[in-house]
């Protein structure tokens, strides 16, 4: 009896496994070689099947693109397939955005209404091909200046950069592009980062003399932002400002010693 039960269980397991395999046929990576005309609806159907999701491509599905790859073929699967579809849609000014449990192609100009809002920390884990909106807090950089610098670098349709208050900006773009734009933000932030440097008062001068000399000398210099104060010990001057400002003030104090 036990043997019979064991055999029945084995047979059942085998049947269940084979049924599961039939229900989930293996999708091979898409191989692209040579020259091909790709219809967006067909590409979307393949991406949907390979990733077990739904993709609504609406009118743009009829559009076609040329894909030329080496004869040795390149394989695409998973995120690479989504990226290929996203690139194909971009050629026709469409983007792929979340739509319920699946995805939908919408005109790029409307992307900002559909894309998820994520934090700066989440940018690191978001897939390259996904369009996102992200708020970036700025340190030491004016939001209008940063937005102005980045405005030319986002997609002509769908891409957006706008100041959000005085010390933050909002970017709507594809994740891989957002990462590139963050390089600009980080460089600007790093350059404008203020530090406090303590300078000893040169012999023969008072701290007030030196402070007033620095203030008077650099007062008219455009874009030269710093704060100077006398230390409570009376023998030092404290200057707060970014590195390039500190370098020039250090040279000025050297000239005072002569």
């Amino acid at each position: 009896m036990r043997r019979l039960i064991a055999i029945v269980m084995l047979v059942c397991t085998a049947v269940a496994l084979s049924a599961a395999q039939e229900a989930k046929p293996e999708v091979k990576p898409m191989k692209l070689s040579g020259s091909a005309t790709v219809k967006i609806s067909e590409l979307a159907a393949h991406v949907a099947k390979a990733n077990e999701t739904t993709i609504d491509v609406q009118k743009v599905g009829q559009a076609e693109l040329a894909h030329i790859a080496p004869s040795t073929a390149v394989a695409a699967e998973g995120d690479a397939l989504f990226m290929l579809l996203q690139n194909a849609l971009a050629q026709h000014r469409y983007v792929l955005v979340p739509n319920g449990d699946g995805w939908a192609a919408v005109t790029a100009a409307e992307a900002h209404k559909h894309v998820p809002v994520i934090t700066r920390a989440e940018v690191a884990t978001s897939a390259d091909w996904k369009w996102v909106r992200v708020k970036i807090e700025l340190e030491n950089v004016d939001a209008n200046a940063a937005a102005g610098a980045l405005r030319n670098l986002v997609a002509r349709q769908g891409g957006a950069v706008a100041p959000s208050g005085r010390s933050a900006i909002e970017i709507c773009e594809r994740t891989d592009r957002v990462r590139e734009l963050l390089k600009v933000v980080d460089q600007l932030t790093g350059r404008q980062k203020s530090e406090i440097t303590v300078y000893p008062v040169p012999a023969g001068l008072t701290d007030q003399d030196v402070m007033h000399a620095i203030q008077a000398h650099f007062a008219r210099r455009p874009g030269f932002y710093f704060r100077v104060e006398v230390s409570p010990n009376g023998s030092d001057i404290d200057v707060t400002g970014p590195a390039h400002v500190q370098a020039e003030i250090a040279r000025f104090i050297e000239a005072l010693k002569e």
């Binding site: 790709v38 693109l65 894909h67 990226m83 020039e248 040279r251």
Partner: protein
């Protein structure tokens, strides 16, 4: 066109587009004489095949033909120059290829700055000269608006961009890598020539340092006055002057004239 196809048939293995075999590494494309009416798409094929790249583009917009003129004896285009040649061909039609998520997409040049990777000045030397890039150049001395104005005419007419970043004294430059390298040389020269130094200049005995500072500043030529700072040195009969190197030779002359 026929000559070009004949050259392809002669020099590129018949298996090139069939995918049956890979070409030997040392193979190069030889072109000779005048070859006109070559479709742009053929050049894309060659770049894909020789440099193992994938291209995605709208075949309705990326169309056209070009002409190659080579010596009758022929010249060889190395396989690693095929992509650069494609970029030159695309530029004739105001298009360029940019890497967008692993695939090379062909986009109008006016939009390339929205795709071009953002790199540092140090990374420029290692990049392919025909790739489009955006570089951030922080300036130490020169004014970003002035540098932008001076160099604006030197960028590519379509796609080339140079813009100042307000408040950070930085310029952003987008162009082909070889062009950016040349522009960066000028940016660094401009920045160096605007380098400021601070020096102490002695005044005649008993002189009123504050009045001298005001007068000397007003005597400065206009090209210096924007970046020049002149103040009385605390506790001493001298002026402190910050400005470009050339200004320090002018100060003693101004002091002498005011005596």
């Amino acid at each position: 066109m026929r000559k070009f196809i004949a050259a392809l048939l002669l020099l590129v293995p018949a298996t090139m587009f069939s995918g049956a075999q890979e070409k030997p590494d040392d193979e190069a494309l030889k072109i000779a004489g005048v070859m006109d009416g070559i479709p742009v798409v053929d050049m894309i094929h060659l770049a894909a095949e020789y440099e193992k790249l994938s291209f995605l583009f709208n075949s309705k917009t990326v169309t056209g033909e070009f002409t190659l003129v080579a010596p009758r004896d022929g010249i060889t285009v190395p396989r690693d120059r095929m992509f650069a040649t494609l970029q030159d061909v695309l530029a004739q039609y105001r298009f360029c290829a940019v890497n967008h998520g692993g695939t090379w997409v062909i986009v109008p040049m006016v939009e390339v700055c929205t795709y071009a990777p953002i790199v540092t000045e140090a990374e420029l030397s290692a990049l392919d000269e025909s790739a489009w890039v955006t570089v951030m150049a922080p300036l130490e001395n020169a004014d970003a608006n002035a540098v932008t104005g001076a160099l604006r005419n030197l960028t590519s007419r379509q796609g080339g961009v140079i813009q100042p970043v307000q408040g950070a004294n930085t310029v952003l430059i987008c162009d082909r890598c070889d062009r950016v390298r040349e522009i960066m040389k000028l940016v660094r020269q401009a920045d160096e020539s605007a380098r400021l130094s601070t020096r102490r200049h002695a005044l005649p005995a008993g002189a009123d340092a504050d009045k001298y500072a005001q007068s000397v500043f007003e005597l400065m030529p206009t090209q210096f006055s924007r970046s020049c700072m002149v103040t009385a040195a605390p506790g001493g009969n001298a002026l402190l002057v910050t400005g470009v190197e050339a200004i320090h030779s002018e100060i003693p002359l101004a002091i002498e004239a005011l005596k």
